[in-house]
């Protein structure tokens, strides 16, 4: 027994483990230094921006910083009746500072988002403060309540209290067409204003079908690539990769030329008499256009992983399947197909993830019924400048991708993925 637990020593009498660590340390440091630039790059370009996005999407500190005393004194308020004199006093003192800094407008804007009607009453209060009409020796509560009847309404004070936490989930709820109502309950927005949920569903639907189309088209191509003699397969490989090397914008634009109502495809259909000249089908600015263009653009991402997996499958396996009595179909289905699953998984995951965040193509050929959530994100980034909302949607997209990845791992196993 003792010999088992005894420490093993090197010939110089140093414990083996320590000696090993010493010998390996240099290599470890070297290895780390080699990957350090990449690690740094990843932190700067990936982890840091995502963290930044996250804080931005939940950030609600602006108002917390505007009304520090108010929120402090509100801590003891039960939120049922009108708050005490103390709360009114600290609100006024916060408000005066904001007026000095000319930031009361921002406050009004933010509070108005929480509850309609704040704009008017904040302006009224501002005028009173500006004219020094409020006498601090008297009851401040009474005087503010006199400015406008809404200041006497407890709901407005409740709204102010709701903005107290420095963080908010409002943007995420908004992206799901929901909001927190007065009772702090999650509620759906009215039916005519629900747009985001449609976009999410459409994004998933488009990504799913693009993946399916890519798979249906890519599988035979990859099989052909893997089995053809070298000289033909090289040519075919170039055909697959050629679009890859062409600018995305150029490819999308060429689809626009092809698919528009006076475009090449429609002309051809009319020429062969498939459709009449005055009844040309719309193949662009709708989902059809998005499907066609995205499938074509994402096809290489399906073909390449499939090809790399199929290349490793020995042709003798199919032959074995046939010689053992399996029909060509059984040999394919029982032998060949199961062996390509790692490639299918990798290809589908890749295409789906790329498709779910696709932006340029749907923006150009999608039209109104073909836009996806990424276009909405871009819209809020560029047009409404609601960056926190855009961040929230971006993070939800990222979360969705992670969920898909997790699901895939559960079902197929990530170790099975083969990207090439």
């Amino acid at each position: 027994m003792s010999s088992e637990t005894k420490q093993i020593l090197t010939t110089d009498g140093i414990p083996l483990e320590i000696s090993l660590k010493k010998a390996e340390r240099k290599n470890k440091i070297k290895a780390f230094l080699l990957v350090a630039p990449l690690l740094l790059f990843l932190i700067i370009t990936y982890i840091f921006p995502i963290g930044e996005m996250f804080t931005r999407s939940i950030d609600d500190k602006m108002i917390t910083n505007m009304l520090p005393k108010t929120f402090k004194s509100m801590e003891t308020w039960d939120g049922k009746d009108l708050p005490s004199e103390e709360v009114f006093a600290s609100f006024l003192s916060d408000f005066k500072i904001l007026v000095d800094k000319k930031e009361h407008g921002k406050l009004a804007q933010r509070l108005n988002k929480e509850k309609n009607g704040f704009n008017t009453i904040t302006k009224k209060l501002f005028r009173q403060v500006k004219r020094n009409k409020i006498d601090e020796t008297q009851s401040i509560k009474e005087q503010i309540m006199k400015v406008h009847k809404r200041w006497r309404n407890v709901e407005y004070w409740q709204a102010i209290k709701r903005t107290a936490p420095p963080y908010t989930s409002a943007k995420y709820l908004k992206a799901m067409d929901m909001y927190l109502n007065e009772d702090n309950k999650i509620t759906q927005v009215s039916e005519d204003r629900r747009i985001h949920r449609i976009l999410w569903l459409r994004t998933v639907e488009v990504a799913f079908f693009v993946t399916v189309f890519c798979f249906l088209m890519g599988y035979p191509i990859a099989h052909l690539l893997a089995t053809l003699p070298m000289k033909y397969s090289n040519l075919l490989m170039i055909c697959v990769l050629l679009p890859f090397w062409t600018s995305l914008l150029v490819r999308t634009a060429s689809w626009m030329i092809l698919l528009q109502q006076q475009g090449v495809v429609n002309d051809f259909f009319v020429m062969i008499g498939l459709v009449s000249d005055d009844n040309r089908p719309e193949m662009m600015y709708n989902k059809v256009g998005t499907y066609v263009a995205m499938t074509q653009i994402l096809l290489p991402f399906m073909v390449l992983p499939l090809y790399s997996v199929m290349k490793t499958i020995s042709p003798s396996l199919m032959r074995a399947g046939k010689s053992l009595g399996g029909t060509p179909f059984i040999a394919f289905w029982k032998v060949y197909f199961p062996l390509t699953i790692p490639g299918i998984g990798a290809g589908c995951l890749l295409v789906f993830i790329l498709a779910i965040g696709y932006y340029i193509t749907p923006a150009l050929v999608g039209g109104a019924s073909g836009t996806l959530i990424s276009n909405q994100i871009a819209y809020h980034m560029k047009t409404t400048l609601d960056w926190s909302f855009a961040s929230a949607m971006g993070l939800m997209l990222l979360g969705g991708v992670l969920v898909i990845y997790w699901l895939y791992n559960k079902l197929v196993g990530v170790d099975n993925i083969k990207l090439g």
């Binding site: 032959r319 074995a320 046939k322 053992l324 009595g325 399996g326």
Partner: protein, 361 residues
């Protein structure tokens, strides 16, 4: 009960892949039931093509192949009922050993308990009982090989084809597998068509060997005949070791001929020479030429020892004899009274019977 001697029959089979070169030329080959026949030849000699035509993965360009008197050229591989062992085993990597063996039975819609019985029997035949649930990747090369053999036999095919099945194994394993396959064949009496480029393998295992070269069967005969009585210089060269002399026939009678070499003259056994003036290559097996022969032999020559190589059970001696600097002798290591030193001159003799005058190279 007489066995069908034309169980598998290649009838005037030609095969060309590109329409320019014939890979197999006018192949006529009869394989009898229960026979172990080996197609032996260098790579590119057409032997694997023949096997693939029999399996159904290639179609003959001309001619017909018969299995039990039925033409099979138009039958797809999965309906031929021919078992096949592939060069790299071709076990299905995503199936267990049991599933691999059950595959040919399942596609034939055999009952579940019948499958279990047959798989059991096939596995015990290759002494792999208890390995049912292993994946092929968890087996050693030799075990995978045996699974492949069991899988090719489990559905009781009439013919089993083996395409260089032992090529990937190391030497010792290969030898023991040779015996194992041979014994399986003897026990169940299935017809085996075996392809290899390893002549040792062919000689130990087969009933008959077909030596392929250049798309043609050069010789089809039993191993001993193939070795002792090669019919042409390719076979003599390809099977075993061989000392050759190129020369011209100067005199010929029924079973002996005189061959004039560059410097000298020897007596030989005329096999493929007919008349005076024919060019010929005379082939002598190393073990047929004796040093200091005690009995009288009709060829007696003197050679100079150029090289002595120790080989364990025997010593190889390279002589310069009659202008052939690569004349090899095999000296058993029991005859240690000989004085084998570099540069010594020794007497060598052989019978004209063993010197076969074949076609010129």
């Amino acid at each position: 009960m007489s066995k069908n001697t034309e169980f598998v029959k290649f009838d005037k089979v030609d095969k060309s892949y590109d329409g320019k070169v014939l890979v197999v030329k006018d192949l006529n080959l009869n394989i009898s039931e229960g026979e172990f026949i080996t197609m032996l030849g260098p790579s590119g000699s057409g032997k694997t093509t023949c096997l693939m035509m029999l399996a159904g993965f290639e179609t003959p360009t001309n001619g017909e192949i018969y299995l039990d008197s039925n033409p099979i050229s138009n039958i797809p591989p999965h309906k031929r009922g021919i078992g096949m062992v592939f060069q790299n085993y071709a076990l299905f990597p995503h199936m267990t050993v049991y599933e691999n063996l059950a595959f040919p039975l399942r596609v034939r819609k055999v009952q579940k308990d019948e499958i279990d019985k047959k798989v059991d029997k096939a596995l015990s035949m290759v002494s792999l009982s208890g390995f049912e649930s292993r994946m092929p990747a968890q087996l050693s090369g030799g075990q995978q090989q045996r699974v492949a053999v069991a899988r090719a036999l489990v559905f009781d095919p009439a013919v089993v084809l083996m395409d260089e099945p032992l090529g990937a194994l190391d030497k010792n394993l290969r030898e023991s597998m040779q015996y194992e396959i041979k014994h399986i064949h003897e026990n169940i009496g299935v017809t085996v068509v075996y392809v290899t480029h390893d002549q040792g393998e062919a000689l130990t295992m087969s009933n008959r060997i077909a030596v392929f070269n250049d798309g043609k069967v050069q010789q089809l005969s039993s191993p001993d005949k193939l070795y002792e009585e090669p019919v042409n210089s390719f076979v003599a060269e390809f099977i075993g070791e061989n000392n050759t002399f190129g020369g011209e026939v100067t005199d010929i009678s029924k079973d002996v001929c005189k061959v004039k070499l560059q410097n000298g003259e020897i007596l030989a056994n005329p096999i493929s020479v007919n008349s005076k003036g024919d060019k010929t290559t005379v082939s002598i097996r190393p073990e047929r030429a004796l040093i200091n022969p005690k009995n009288k032999m009709d060829n007696n020559q003197t050679g100079k020892i150029e090289e002595v190589i120790y080989h364990g059970d025997h010593t190889r001696v390279r002589l310069d004899l009659l202008g052939n600097k690569d004349f090899i002798l095999k000296v058993p290591n029991s005859s240690n009274e000989l004085d084998l030193k570099l540069g010594n001159e020794i007497k060598v003799g052989w019978n004209s019977q063993d010197a076969r005058a074949l076609d010129p190279k």
